[in-house]
């Protein structure tokens, strides 16, 4: 019994270590990202059908952060943006979009012409001597 137990324990430890390593190696996903293998994705037509069933008017359907993302109007005519799990088509995240006009305007402004203070490539090389060698900035959020 004893050698068997030892063997079992060793196997469990190896499994636990493997699982830990796999977790550590997995890319960090934020709360509203999706991580579904491509072979399990539903089609875009299925997404459009689901949206029609909810009375949504789809203005744009795209893929973002591994999820389907719909922009459109809901059954009440309110603009929204929704992220859907590509396998289950369940809503991962949904939000209204009343502020988008501001952002679009801001983006249009940013896209105008060349940058005022644009630097040539390599201009940042001066940064080296100004920061203490061997030290890195640290940050915390309270």
């Amino acid at each position: 019994m004893k050698p068997t137990n030892r063997k079992l324990r060793r196997t469990l430890l190896a499994l636990a270590a493997g699982a830990g390593a796999a977790l550590a190696a997995a890319p960090a996903l934020s709360g509203d990202d999706c991580d579904v293998p491509v072979e399990r994705w539903r089609s875009r037509d299925a997404v459009m059908q689901m949206a029609a069933g909810k009375g949504w008017q789809v203005q744009r359907l795209k893929i973002d952060d591994g999820c389907y993302e719909i922009r459109g109007r809901d059954a009440q005519g309110r603009e929204f943006k929704a992220k859907l799990d590509p396998q289950t088509l369940q809503v991962v995240r949904m939000k209204g979009r009343e502020r988008d006009r501001d952002r679009d305007r801001s983006r249009a402004r940013d896209d105008r012409g060349p940058a005022r203070n644009a630097q040539p490539a390599g201009a940042a090389s001066a940064a080296g001597p100004l920061f203490t060698p061997g030290t890195a900035p640290r940050a915390q959020i309270d």
């Binding site: 952002r103 940058a115 203070n117 001066a126 940064a127 100004l130 203490t132 309270d142």
Partner: protein, 158 residues
């Protein structure tokens, strides 16, 4: 101590000590407004007296696709291939406080350098130049409000 070892230790000290003597810990504290949106992406960086990019102190927010929304920082730092090395963390939620600590060279203080923060929040207006304050001893400890998202920004020089 053997002679070669002593020589190595002395050489290392000679390199390290001036760096220690010429740098100063600086803490930058940024508290966000309750702006009613997702976590903010912030780029904290330095520019020189001519407005040229010097270096990045911190970038809050992990998705690279949003970095272009930190428009001034993204543009100015484009030539710095290492601008993100070791200086990225999570985005900062509304009402939260980001504290960044860095050892900055003395030569940066009272020499026309400026601390800048660009801010961006999903589905809200981008705010390049949210904060622009000169890096001076006189300015240390004096809180300043940002344009859109930063309720209060201040820095301490030790």
């Amino acid at each position: 101590m053997s002679k070669p070892l002593m020589t190595t230790v002395l050489a290392a000290s000679a390199l390290a000590l001036p760096a220690l003597a010429q740098s100063r810990p600086v803490t930058l504290t940024t508290t966000l407004e309750n702006y009613g949106g997702d976590g903010a992406y912030l780029a904290v960086y330095l520019t020189d007296a001519k407005g040229a990019y010097v270096g990045t102190l911190w970038v809050a927010g992990g998705k690279a696709k949003y970095y272009k929304n930190l428009a001034d920082w993204s543009r100015l730092s484009a030539g710095d291939a290492r601008r993100l090395d070791g200086v990225t963390g999570a985005s900062v939620g509304q009402g939260r406080t980001l504290k960044v600590s860095a050892d900055l060279a003395d030569a940066l203080i009272d020499a026309g350098y400026e601390i800048r923060i660009d801010a961006a929040v999903e589905d809200m207006r981008d705010s390049p130049g949210e904060i622009r304050v000169p890096l001076t001893r006189a300015g240390a400890g004096k809180p300043q409000a940002g344009k859109s998202y930063v309720q209060s920004f201040s820095y301490q020089i030790q």
